[in-house]
Symmetry: D2
Subunit: 458 residues, 4 copies
């Protein structure tokens, strides 16, 4: 008999049991559910709604149930639908009618919302920790290769020489924004919905703030209907997760590119690579590709959850049961990808020579020449045109800009002096970018120091 079955003929919900039961996945919330129930029981006793003895026996029995589940000895029943009813059924088995007092002044609507809040809160905290670990790996690697020069690209075309460390620090800053989003998501999610009951509150003299305090919440929902209707915190978490995945996908793409034969600036360690079942020579950047690919599923979960909530009337609707699997998978995916990427980055081997050689290709110091002319008084737009013609000249000869002579330069503009030739070295070019945030080594050294301090203070 269903615990809610009084009003129904026997067999209610039967046909569709397999379809509607959530116990297959919401059992993951068992720790949250039990902690929440224990806090609720304690509050009921504190408020005189049940006796301290009743509360004590409920709390102890819930401890036992938690251990049964944790050790794999608990038998979940499909007909009890979800983790809440499975736990309550077991409580009734253990305590008899006293167990039936736990659900006083509570509904599954606020109970599941409570569990989900705790889960999101913990999930966000774990993501924040793993972001820091990846940031550390980036900073360490940037430190190891602090002097390495590579061609910075725009449109995947060689643009200007930059320090590898500068490039890696760009990801440090992206992740810093991600961290901010998860912290804010966590803060906004850290309110307890318990006490909203079905949707309207209750006539029992409950104290929701006691439950909230015991469970580490910053406060309680101000409005009971909002408390049980709200899944913003799930969507906000997955939104933040989607964005960090986009960041990881960009880094992954670069690692795939950079470890391809034409580039060959980096090599993933064997531990993060796989081979081919048919081609004996293959060493594939499998982990990076998979991280890139997993961006899709997190964005898919975001789409799913926005679509689930769209147009739902208040308060709880069964559609909202769909909030769990996507969230669980998003938490696992983001954490797994962050952990794996930290491992990839931490064991990355960078080929300084090939990168520097590449930085000297593609006329990457053309902007230096233009800027030189500007310092000689030529308006930038004219300087750009002059150097553009020099590039055409070099292309027609099949040489790089440093294959041109001073006479060639002066043929394009009389403003060129011999010191202009020295600007064509990629290492010199990076050294010149001393503007705030620019790639000059001194800037990058300072940025690394700041990053290290930030990380060490966490």
């Amino acid at each position: 008999m269903k615990l809610w079955g009084g009003r129904f003929a026997p067999g209610a919900g039967g046909q569709a049991q397999r379809f509607t039961a959530s116990i297959g996945f919401d059992r993951r919330l068992y720790q949250e559910d039990i902690a929440g129930s224990q806090a609720h029981a304690r509050m009921l006793a504190a408020q005189g709604i049940i006796t301290p003895v009743e509360a004590g026996s409920i709390i102890d029995a819930l401890d036992e149930i938690g251990q049964e589940i944790g050790s794999g000895q608990f038998t979940f029943a499909l007909e009890d639908e979800d983790i809440h009813m499975n736990v309550e059924r077991r409580l009734l088995e253990k305590l008899g009618s006293v167990g039936g007092k736990l659900h006083t002044a509570r509904s599954r609507n606020d109970q599941v919302a409570l569990d989900m809040h705790m889960f999101v809160r913990n999930g966000a905290a774990e993501v924040v920790r793993r972001i820091t670990a990846l940031q550390s790996a980036l900073v360490d690697r940037a430190t190891v290769y602090q002097d390495a020069v590579m061609p910075g690209c725009t449109h995947l075309q060689a643009a200007q020489p930059v320090l590898l460390a500068h490039h890696l620090l760009a990801y440090f800053h992206m992740l810093e924004r991600d961290r901010g989003r998860f912290l804010e998501c966590r803060a906004r999610a850290n309110l307890s919905p318990l006490g909203a009951c079905a949707l309207a509150g209750t006539s029992f003299p409950i104290a929701p703030e006691l439950v909230a305090k015991e469970l580490g919440f910053d406060g309680v929902y101000a409005n009971s209907i909002d408390a049980v209707s709200d899944r913003d915190f799930v969507i906000e978490f997955i939104s933040a997760a989607a964005l960090v995945m986009v960041h990881l996908s960009r880094l992954a793409e670069e690692l795939v590119l950079w470890s391809s034969q034409p580039w060959a600036w980096v090599e993933l360690s064997d531990a993060y690579s796989t081979g081919s079942s048919i081609m004996p020579q293959k060493k594939n950047p499998d982990t990076a590709e998979l991280i890139r690919g997993k961006t899709g599923r997190v964005v898919g979960h975001l789409m799913a959850m926005l679509m689930v909530m769209k147009g739902l009337p208040l308060a709880y609707n069964s559609d909202m049961q769909e909030d769990k699997e996507g969230l669980f998978d998003a938490v696992d995916t983001v954490n797994g990808c962050l952990e794996t990427m930290a491992g990839i980055v931490g064991s990355l081997a960078f080929n300084r020579e090939r990168a520097l050689a590449a930085a000297a290709k593609g006329h990457t110091t053309a902007t230096e020449l233009a800027d030189y002319l500007v310092r000689q008084g030529v308006p930038f737009r004219e300087a750009h045109a002059v150097v553009g013609r020099l590039v055409r000249l070099a292309l027609s000869r099949g040489v790089e800009l440093d294959g041109l002579s001073l006479a060639d330069l002066q043929g394009a503009s009389s403003c060129f002096g011999p010191e202009a030739l020295q600007l064509l070295d990629p290492v010199a070019a990076t050294g010149a970018k001393t503007s705030p945030g620019g790639t000059a080594p001194a800037n990058v050294a300072r940025a690394l120091a700041v990053a290290r301090r930030v990380l060490s203070e966490r």
Copy 2:
């Protein structure tokens, strides 16, 4: 040692094993994988690449492996990564080096593509069957309530009276389009990629068409690179799945609305309803809500898969490993929702009296009056304005249009005769809609007969 590990130091892929292994979910393809391998072995023998004896022992051993997996006795190893390598490893255990001959002229790239094609093909066929079952339930229900009248709505405002059967048949036709899409998806997916090997084909004298024929394919891919790069068939399946879910969500929404207290035209059977943990009176249309909600996850999978494939260079990339979980879940979700909806519809109780009473509310026969005037020679646009003023009059008196007198009508237009008053009955109004495709009972009876014939001929 990895089966692909010759080129690597020991421990390759180790760190990331848990992250990259797909055996946790691709084991679902074991039957397809084994059938594909057996067909491949048979072809290798037919072409003289291996001996008939070798092929025979491979095929027998694969049968055994299939039984081991089917009976739960097979031990999957994470370090063997995927279903392909797990099976091959077991084959090697059973046969020694002869087992090592199976992967001749084959790569996991074409192997997994083969498995996925078979899975999609079968999945589409199952969806097609379940669509028919739901269509049958709709037609049956429409037949039972063939004379029931309800207010057809636009903008969820009462618009014109229609037959419930006509309304249910609208879903029959939506599903008929879905069926067409799945059949076409199946037809387009029914090509065998095996023989493409890594991406370039092979120098062995294979006969891919033999494999294709044995496995029930209509042909083979014309281009080996396309064969291993293509996941169109996965995306096309999920696209069709998303659309059928949208249809189900519309029906689900209507069932939720119609079973709410203000409407109360339908009641879901207890078997498809659930109760509340707190509110003893509740009977919730849980299954319909959940179907509506599950639309999100299928659309999410579509988003995910489009995002995974976007911008991927040819040929196989590890990102494509992400094609499986979403597809599997889409197949399960669509089939589960179709089955559940067929059960809901098949056991639906419709309240004729409440629906007919509702059809008489909201001035739903106003168009009849306007059309009457047109038949008296009044241009439609003027007739519309005249009747609009009559509606205002009725509203101001707090009555329906049939609460107006002939004098009221004639006050608005002298063209009204006493027969106009007879147009205000909702049953008469449905009877008048005799245009092709319209809701007149004779039309609907014909449409039901056609639908029954179509279904019976499947």
Copy 3:
């Protein structure tokens, strides 16, 4: 001749001009672009890179160009591609070679990022204002109907009586969270990327913090590659926009439901309704439906932008040009929907009588009976079962719970006393929900006072 054309033969970019030009939509950024250029010119002069006289003439000419565009007199040229080049071309026409000095130490990469940051910042501020306006409309309406009782629903089934004001305040709180997200998005977006130039910074002695300060930014990007690669702020804005749209869609759905004939608790004002071209009686909640529908486009823009950025190598790529139209439309859509919803809510007429009558249907006070039994010492789970049986009894007689006699109640449980019958009044039931956040009138009055104070302090 293209302003960047020095290196190319004539005609570069020609064929694809219509395809690649963004001037058709990025002209919307002209004010941001001109303000940014003026700040840049002022900084160049402050740093001695150009002369004060040059800066002055550039700034004045940019003022003129701004006026030309504002007054519709400016001729945009497709061949100048975008707003930046169109403005610079005009500057060159006005000032000759001095105009060519503006682009010193700047690239379109950091320039467009600057414009977009300013746009997002302003867009977020406008959304925040409109959220407040809608919140005010909700609070006003809740105040007007402070005593109105309606059936709160879960699963769209009548659950428990609640105050309409309590229900409307749930939206107040949702919007409060939206507001927080937009404020945080704005704060995170309020960094200036100018000075990053192409991607590496520059060798000119620029002072990016001067530009930032003049334009009202809180600071500058710490890393030049990040500065030009980052579109997080666009995605974060659209994410927040998607969520506020989901909230609006829920309210819109409820308005559509509540104004349907079976409910008929609310009526939208004529100003926010439309009629039918064929059915003279129709009054459609067109605006609410359209708000609900427009949720799709904003979520679509979010998906688009996440997909655009996925897997993009650093730094700027032309794909990122796709950041504009979706953002512009998201800003317009959210603001338009917030404004329209504020208008709808502000002019909403609520039918107290019909709502109260509905609240008495559906056995909505069943929980009160169960809670009564708990107060008599019956464990809640047993009390739930007792009342469930009473609901079955009432259903079998075709009456509501208040159609049962005391004897009926006592037949189910001897714990019922005569005072139990008084619990069945919906108004009394709302009054009893005095728990924090519950729907009791005193709670709601306090919540309204808090909301009014919060709004008045903005």
Copy 4:
């Protein structure tokens, strides 16, 4: 006064006019709308519902209105909401009350559905034409470079040498599937909804099949409610559009990669490239990047439309007004991208020497060695391991496989004979892949011939 305003007080819909009016974008349907109205008028006359003279004057006036719109002389009024009402208003101005007869037996619900069907049908036909044009460009380019060899990649790692022509033909086949989807979409969309009127059909003796035939439809909707509720055809079109965009994005990604400095196998023509505002040397594959980026917006439109339709009760709802802008943009985007990609491909310069040199890197012929061993009787799995060790040896010496001696090979396996060394040439390796669908030149030549015949027969 609104044409539907009879029932309302003056000013209905006023406040929200700007928000709800669709005339800003649905004017694009004016040709479809006028053609549909003319066919409707002709049918009304044929059925005796209006007189031939009335029909004639209506048809002539609609011709004039079409010319007014086409020449830009028509003044669209926001207060007339949409293209349908703008045209009808003008018709009334021209013809007086006779104009008011056109809307007999018609609603905007079926009228707009008719327009949209015609638009999708035409849009699909145009896409099909442009797909053929891109396929032709691919086949032409493959023919020009029929002998060019490049390293086929998996995981972006050099895998096996393939013919460029073979690689380009993979796209030919992807596009062939796209073509099939659009043709089927067109076929399924080619039913006329006119005659459904508001949702229930009509009491006028209309002949919807006459309208359908005149407008080139294959038939009429069988169910009037379905006819006005259905937007499957829009979603199916955008689904097919999303998939062709994914294909284009993959080709675009490859063009971006291949034109980057490390690869430098292809160079886009100047006509499809752009420069940089700051870096004079840059030549960016702008058009390819933009095509890749535009994949996002089409997928975004798909998500938007699925979300709009999810959970909508039958029949027409204003949400469905959102079907237009996304569809229009999808049509324009897909056609623009197909056209641009055809131009890019048609003018692509491929560097045979660099590609061939790359094909010799990365041990791309390792599989040949393994297959050689298989032919000597070594089981493939063992052969794979032997060659894997040879690759390790080569890597340790910093050479390619062809840098190993026969003695080296024989040190790994005594089965190697001197002819094994000849397998290491990439051109020879492509020649050996003679399996059906493989990359051997003879295969590719046949495939090209088939492709040319297929294209020539269209």
